[in-house]
Amino acid sequence: MSEDVEGEMSLRIRSAFVAGRAGRSRLARLSACLFASLLLALTLHAGDAAAQRRDLTIGITQYPSTLHPNIDAMAAKSYVENMTMRPFTTFDADWQLVCMLCVELPTFENGGAVRLPGQGKDGGDAVALTYRIQPDATWGDGTPVTTDDVLFTYDVGRHPQSGVSNAELYRDITKIEVVDAKTFVMTSRKLTFNYNAINDFRVLPAHLERPVFEADRANYRTRTLFDRDPTNPGLAFGPYRLTEVELGAFLVVEPNPHWWGEKPYFERIVVRVIENTAALEANLLSGGIDMIAGELGLSVDQAIGFEQRNGDRFRVVYKPGLVYEHLDVRLDNPILRDVRVRQALMHGMDRQALVDQLFGGRQTVARSDVNPLDWVHDDTTPVYGYDPAKAGALLDEAGWSTISRGIRQNAQGEPLRIPLVSTAGNRTRELIQQVLQAQWRQIGVDVAIEVQPPRVLFSESLTRRRFQGLALFAWIGSPENVPRTTLHSESIPTEGNGWAGQNYPGYASPDMDRLLDRIEVELDRERRKALWSDLQHLYAADLPALPLFFRSDVHIWPLWLEGVEPTGHQYSSTQTVERWRAADAG
């Protein structure tokens, strides 16, 4: 933009020189003045442009509910918070576990982890882990981050009324011993393969929050300074700290002078909340925002359209992610109970065509619930290719061999009709439902499409297991996420267990239960990978859910922005925000 303006103005100046013959010297002086003014204006303009590029405005579609790090898991909160705080451990852009607030991951190999035989839960092994806090880690008010903060965080996490969402993490930690101001030993009663991952142990500032907690422990979650005084500099120790918060509208962060790491480039980052994606796009085009976050922005189909129209003005990056779109199967449905019917449905779906036509091939077709980018993914897991003939043969074999008006029937004359429910208002899912209905019709299956508001689907139909056939929705996971809550028989929601668990299909397989139990405690990577392989093969054979594809995050950046590393998982790209910069920053 600045180059175009400069060119246009230079042309006008040259025209003025050519136009006048009489009074040439006066015109020359006038022109010189004009030229000088122009240069000054352009210099100021260039200065403005440079100043603007020290500001970055990001558009996201959701406002975070609470800003407390350990209460209420939410993508919007995580996105902002990764700029102002850092977890002890996290997954990086390559999906590897790394240290952020700690100096080094404790392992058995480096002596940071020590096995405690027989001291764990139910007589198992426990583990003692030594973490060292980054030596220069300091809260934004100059107070060092110390083990006192760690002990306080542990106190809050253990309190039954503190409202911490991942309370299991704190229950599993049996004690924390302080070695010095920057070193502590954490003992966990569970020795699992991810024993040294404490991603959800987000350290709290004891010097500010302890008085609030001690004053009224039961109501701490409603009195925390993270919500009452969010711009308090002492609440941040990341590269940025919050300086302005407008409820429901925007959050502003500016550099934290006490940040220990690489100096952040941007002097101010504004995170603006625009829930409507059409308005989000319009704001990007009009300059109201500079970029759209991939974590909470446009869907792939919207982004493809945007890229076609504006691909020359913005960089559109598709990052394959861990959001798993699939169809949960109600396994006690008499039709779907037969695995041959489920396999026929898989062969009757042309998932690659679906992905190509609806998403321009930007999504990854799934073999199971394990993402191909995850290191435990097994490429030999059987793929259900599009094969209507095979699907028909399987349905014949399952007793659905008579065809009347294009719909298969069984010996009793019952039609092969399957309800397919999904979320209302989600245009992409509604399109998928229609495509599947058309494809399955080709093999004689009648699909009854139903949509429900997300609240009804997720709060009633799924959790109370009231859906009748197939349910189309997505799971969000993390790298090497053991699917215990979705596949273990103990996780089937029933009235008896208060509808807890997320095994909505009602899948009960002793083999799967054993695999899940073993994977969790297998520390050897190769042996664990073999178990994961078995799990994926079993999943593909039993089909407790019909895999569709893994969603991609779509990041839309200005051409001048560089250094952003999309992650594809729930630990957002902002966890390396200090590396973001303008391309002309040198």
Binding site: L67, A167, S459
Partner: protein
Amino acid sequence: MLTHVTRSIVEAAVVLLVMSFVVYGLIGLMPGDPVDLMVTADPSITSADVERLRAIYGVDGPLLQRYGLWLGAALQGDLGLSRTYSQPVLPVLLDHLGPTLLLMGASLLLAVAIALPLGILAALAPRSPLDGLLNLLAFASISVPSFWLSLVLIVLFSVQLGWLPAGGVATVGDGGLGDRMVHLVLPVAALTVVTLGPLIRHTRAAMIEALRQDYVRTAQAKGASRARIVLGHALGNAMLPIATILALNVGGLVSGALAVETIFAYRGMGKLIYDSIMANDFNLALVGLLLATLLTLLANVAADVVYAWLDPRIAYG
């Protein structure tokens, strides 16, 4: 008059109490609770955590019991906390009320200022080409979806022409009066357009009815000027039904315009109430809806007073 106003206020209080129960019950009957939403967001949550969180968020008891507890606290001035914003409900509501009143008030005033003359003009020459044109405009205004109009305005004035901001209440870091006014232009324009139609139609209908009355013929017979007949005699009487429509619109002033606020990312009450219902934020949704109800009731009381002022023949027993 004083008795009537007092009685209206008491009636309003009773309606408010009934409404609080109805709204609380309706929100409570909706599927899911705040903890269900947390479960959806966090697959690693355990059943023990779910029970613990239900107790913490006070959604583990029967609905009637929870309503009783809420009402008791509300009568003592404690309207509760917003679960979504982790803050007391009232400051959150008041924070959103100001921008909404500004947005809705400005658009209503503008709509009235445009609709009244247009409605009168249409009534003066019914079935004329001018009346036809104004009717066409009115129906277009009634028919156009506000979200579509909002997007069209953004695309035209923000994206194509670059004259006006595409959304928000103010520029982050600015927030001066001029900046706020500039941010108001497009949402006010969108709301004014969609409010105009019904007001033109109501004004036209009321004026046509008034101009048919005997007193208008009498005034004409007495040689009163056209302007005096229209503005002095007919309009005064036509204002009675128009005042009713305007009083009912006051409720809308508080509850906001959801579509326009959403498209323009305008921090207002409509979006706040909608979001709080969707997020099962019981307290916020309840108090927000009750606030809108209260203001509507008060506006109706005010409308009664205006009736008496406009037409002294109206007497209250």
